[in-house]
Symmetry: C2
Subunit: 684 residues, 2 copies
């Protein structure tokens, strides 16, 4: 398996062709860092995906398109790459909206800038006597220790002379240092009205942005959430901080606010930023009232149990590691699931900081994009999100399933969730002013961080015994109601997008992307060609549960320690679904019980209506659907649409990405049934 075919005497030199198409490699191995031979991987992966059966037409198309998606820059053959070299002859087939089983259509906008490589994509040169310590640049401003001086035990790597990145052999115009750009802010006032896709004069920021757009697009297309997802066309970061900035550009539009969990010179681990106290409505906690036989064991012990934090349980992880060999950062999504609703929150402090950083580096392009995002998010308010009914009679063992009314708040009534108790720890009930709605978001917690959702409307489908979790796709990004009050001013002052916003003001922005998600249904899961209905997908997936092993590790597994005999019945169950849109269905659950136990999986729970669970369309979105479809379908292949003109109202900067915000913001492309409770059900 570990066929590490890297040659120490060879070094990759990147050709100065910055444009690339993202490739995501659904590795099955835990170690995605020593990739195997690409051909072998192709076979293995595809066989796994296809469960050994002959390829269908869709599968073939998908496979071919994946090969087309091969990025040709910065990634040598067989290293971190799944598919072969990029060639753009079949680009027009990539953009496939798999829901309708229509032929793949061209990806919007991104591929306008894809250029035919004019040189060999990689050049191997003998490794010179280069110092082994090629360090990534880190803008380390922190100097906590009073001094270093003579203390031999303090070895400060930063004090070493920087011998990295400036190597003459490295040719890449993807290099960008936000620090440098900040200091040279005036030089980058973005005159760029040069919109020709083959422009070689792309600035580093523009390259960053392009790659971030591509990553978003591919992430929306991504399906194997249980696997490592490699963000392969990654720009060359000059500074370590730029990695986060770039990832923020990708994940903020997806409703994910990332935070660094751990970092050092060569590695950054990102996670979801912990929920705030006001985000109880986003947290997924649900429990049933029927106690199991172990109830008596939890009485006095449960209150002594130390709950670290119910806000910080999301299993989502991104790992960025600096590869000294390629002198690039490798970015892998280790865990693509979430324990909460995904929400684009322009009011977040971190988001404002992010915007501020964008202003400092003068990344007007991205600023515009997020201004639009903010505006569209605001226009969708108030988002009335349905809750998903809990059909607990048959899914007692379903642990985590995350639908709560995004705008609901439990202030009006006592919520017995761990979050509520955590929030009220200081004995002060939150005032109802913080809550906007008093909807019946019936979420019950057992106080152990393990959540359940009771499904009420039992329909006519079956659930296999090992299906333990309801999985909710994040197709409907909820929007923070506490919108930044300064937003409109900022937005208007930035360039007057009101024409554009009026055009889109009635469109559910976040649902727009769903329609254009380009996920082929090569598993034939999509039995329902209606965009809003995927009732049979999940069952198809269940039948394919062994096709793809589950890489979800037990990062946040099982804090359910307080006397609950939680037997894990599902191992490596991994299912992927096609783009099932919607999800915020009715959540009329029982919320009276604080504690709940997992019933043994062997209990006879066979009937689950996953249409109810996952596929109920967004109420408001449904209203917007017709407009949305019209808008989306009106996008030409090159997909500049009205947005192009609108965007030009901002300024003259090039806008390779801003025209496809719809796709960026909402893709409901993956679904993952995973093992443990904390590993949430949300994907983008």
């Amino acid at each position: 398996m570990n066929n590490n075919n890297s040659n120490d005497n060879q070094r990759v030199v990147h050709v100065p062709v910055p444009i690339a198409v993202p490739v995501f490699m659904p590795f099955n191995s835990q170690n995605g860092h020593n990739p195997n031979d690409p051909n072998i991987m192709q076979m293995n992966q595809f066989n796994k995906l296809n469960n050994g059966t002959p390829l269908t037409k869709q599968q073939m198309d998908y496979f071919i398109n994946q090969q087309q998606l091969m990025q040709f820059q910065n990634t040598p053959m067989g290293q971190n790459n799944f598919f072969s070299l990029f060639n753009n002859q079949n680009l027009s087939n990539i953009n496939d909206t798999s829901r309708t089983n229509t032929p793949m259509t061209q990806l919007p906008l991104q591929f306008n800038n894809v250029q035919t490589p004019t040189a060999t994509s990689k050049i191997t040169t003998p490794k010179q006597g280069k110092p082994k310590k090629a360090k990534p640049q880190t803008s380390n401003k922190k100097k906590t220790k009073p001094s270093v001086t003579t203390l031999t035990i303090t070895k400060d790597p930063l004090s070493e002379p920087d011998t990295s990145k400036k190597d003459a052999n490295i040719i890449s115009n993807n290099l960008v240092s936000m620090e440098r750009l900040k200091s040279a802010k005036d030089a980058t006032t973005t005159p760029a009205s040069d919109m020709t896709p083959t422009s070689q004069a792309k600035t580093p920021i523009e390259n960053h942005n392009l790659l971030s757009e591509l990553a978003i697009e591919s992430l929306q297309r991504q399906r194997n959430q249980g696997k490592f997802i490699h963000l392969d066309p990654v720009p060359q970061f000059e500074d370590q901080k730029d990695v986060k900035l770039w990832l923020q550009k990708i994940f903020y539009p997806l409703g994910i606010e990332i935070a660094i969990e751990r970092s050092d010179k060569f590695k950054i681990t990102f996670k979801c930023k912990a929920l705030k106290r006001g985000d109880e409505d986003l947290h997924v906690e649900h429990h049933h009232e029927n106690k199991s036989v172990t109830d008596d064991l939890k009485g006095e012990d449960s209150k002594k149990r130390r709950v670290k934090s119910p806000f910080n349980t999301c299993p989502f992880r991104i790992r960025a590691s600096y590869k000294s060999k390629s002198e690039k950062w490798q970015i892998v999504i280790i865990n693509n699931s979430h324990s909460h609703q995904l929400k684009f929150s322009p009011t977040s402090v971190n988001y404002k900081q992010f915007k501020q950083t964008l202003r400092e580096i003068n990344d007007i392009e991205t600023i515009k994009k997020f201004d639009e995002l903010e505006y569209k998010a605001k226009m969708n308010l108030p988002m009335d999100v349905d809750t998903i009914p809990c059909d607990c009679g048959l899914t007692e063992e379903v642990q985590s399933f995350g639908v709560v009314l995004p705008t609901s708040f439990t202030s009006g009534k006592q919520q017995n969730s761990a979050i509520a108790r955590f929030t009220q720890k200081n004995s002060v009930k939150r005032s109802s002013a913080a809550g906007k709605h008093s909807d019946e978001s019936d979420v019950v917690s057992n106080g152990s961080g393990v959540t359940k959702v009771k499904k009420q409307n039992n329909k006519n489908n079956k659930i296999k015994e090992n299906l333990r979790k309801h999985v909710n796709m994040n197709s409907a990004l909820s929007v923070d109601e506490n919108h930044d009050t300064n937003f409109e001013q900022c937005f208007n002052t930035e360039g007057g997008l009101m024409d554009f916003s009026e055009q889109l003001s009635k469109v559910d922005f976040f649902l727009a992307g769903q329609k254009s998600a380009n996920i082929p249904d090569f598993l034939n899961l999509d039995n329902n060609k209606n965009i809003m209905s995927h009732s049979n997908q999940l069952h198809d997936q269940i039948n394919n549960e062994n096709t793809i092993s589950n890489n979800i590790n037990s990062i946040s597994s099982s804090t359910n320690n307080n006397g609950i005999n939680h037997i894990n019945h599902i191992n490596n169950m991994n299912t992927i679904t096609n783009s099932s849109n919607n999800n915020n269905s009715n959540n009329n659950n029982n919320n009276n019980e604080e504690e709940n136990n997992f019933l043994d999986l062997n209990m006879g729970v066979d009937e689950v209506d996953f249409t109810e669970l996952f596929l109920k369309p967004h109420k408001k979105s449904l209203n917007m659907q017709s407009q949305l479809e019209i808008l989306d379908q009106s996008l030409p292949a090159t997909d500049h649409l009205d947005l192009e003109n609108i965007e030009m109202q901002y300024n003259n900067s090039d806008h390779t990405s801003s025209g496809k915000n719809e796709e960026l913001s909402k893709g409901l492309d993956g679904m993952h049934l995973f093992e443990d409770s904390k590993n949430g059900p949300y994907f983008f």
Copy 2:
């Protein structure tokens, strides 16, 4: 209770008389920050301590001496002070070695520098139009965010102009800024051969050192570990970092390496630095093999349980909070117990950093002191520490009791403790090279972070039903074997203390302090006048268990969540013992069982030999005892001894503290039986 008698219109001006005597207030209230009227507190406290019975002669002496200990500086009447103003007429009675029930003798050394106040100890002046935000100084070098600029949400308090501390009304020569001193290092080359106690020319560093010595002395004398222990004569810190530095001067000699758990502008919370992987031998884990009825519930669940870290479980906490009113830092030991052996480890990286900082601020006095400490610690090697036998047949419910062979290591055999498993988590057995000994340190863990020690030799004493924990006093500080190899050179070069060290080389340095611990036996607990034997103390205390309520909260209580029905039977059980020396007795325990459960307290376990548990003398210490006693008794009232001359070999700095290192290093003065497992049994 919250009689906050501070007058907003009055401000305390400190007289420039830096010398003070520590006062420790065993508050019963959870809130030690708004102290009550000192007179009321006197009554309350003393009544509680005495359980309402008439005072004995010893009690009266203690009370009187406590009043004498009133520090007169920096603390207004009734604020953070328990006793009345200092007057030194009865100083000669303070130093009482309560073990022998001899009359209190004078505290050594410190009081040589106590001076008669020549002015009113506090001056109240009308508060001027001073801004309310008197901020503590923080040497904040960290600027993680790329910038602040216009972002309104980033409110950086450090950017505000500093209006604090420099107020003209504040007169205090206790002010010290290590930052400042570092920059003006040459100016403080410590000529001070001025050893007259009334010297007004004491430098800030000298004041810091003196107060740290006093704090150590009083901590050794401290008994109410379950209560908040206020370190009241606290120097005035210019910089936030100086708080830690000062506390390090106090707690390193006590075998405690502190680390910041949390800090902000106005508060610092310190804890014990987490044990390193090589410190398994210091960690206390013990469990019994007999399972309870809940065993079946833990089978599959236990292995999924997420053990955060078995190295980071010590409940010891110090809280330092800046009082804007007094513009001083209030330092309170919130939890004085430990879950591990206390050990002075000169090889610690943090300790070396600490020493380095001392050099940078040119605190030669403290450097000398710690050089001596290091040398003495090294001279005591190898310390053969006995383990305490576990008498588990009757103390199944005893949760945490910490005795492991300090120098033992479990490399030779499989240790089923959580630590061992934690260390070997990645399936690689640690090589035996890391271990020094292969002693039979039989430590068993149940994997839940809750530890038990099995007592084997059941003797003849009884344990009350609610006595749940064995408590081990830390009287025997173990010494890190991996001694700094550079120590001797440093030590010799600093001033050639070999004469002195040869004098003390055979003395168990850390036990020396025990003898001079000045704890009156006002609870009549000391039925055994033999210094090494306190067999009946604990029982006396148990009978007095209600005299002092237990402030130990359930902070670290019960991570034992995996199905164990751990019923807490003991609430507010708080016992204090007199200075019971020794502890590291034989620990021949069962270590075969990984999981263990708490038996219900109602099980009939009545017999415990606490002599075996707590009072077994240190083997080596016993050998040293005669020398130690001779040495200690040879100390004159002013207590300069040989150390004075020796110290002068260093240089001409004044040596208010270095002469009494024996007392500083080892005081076995407190014992605390507390509720939960994580709260360890070690005190100094």
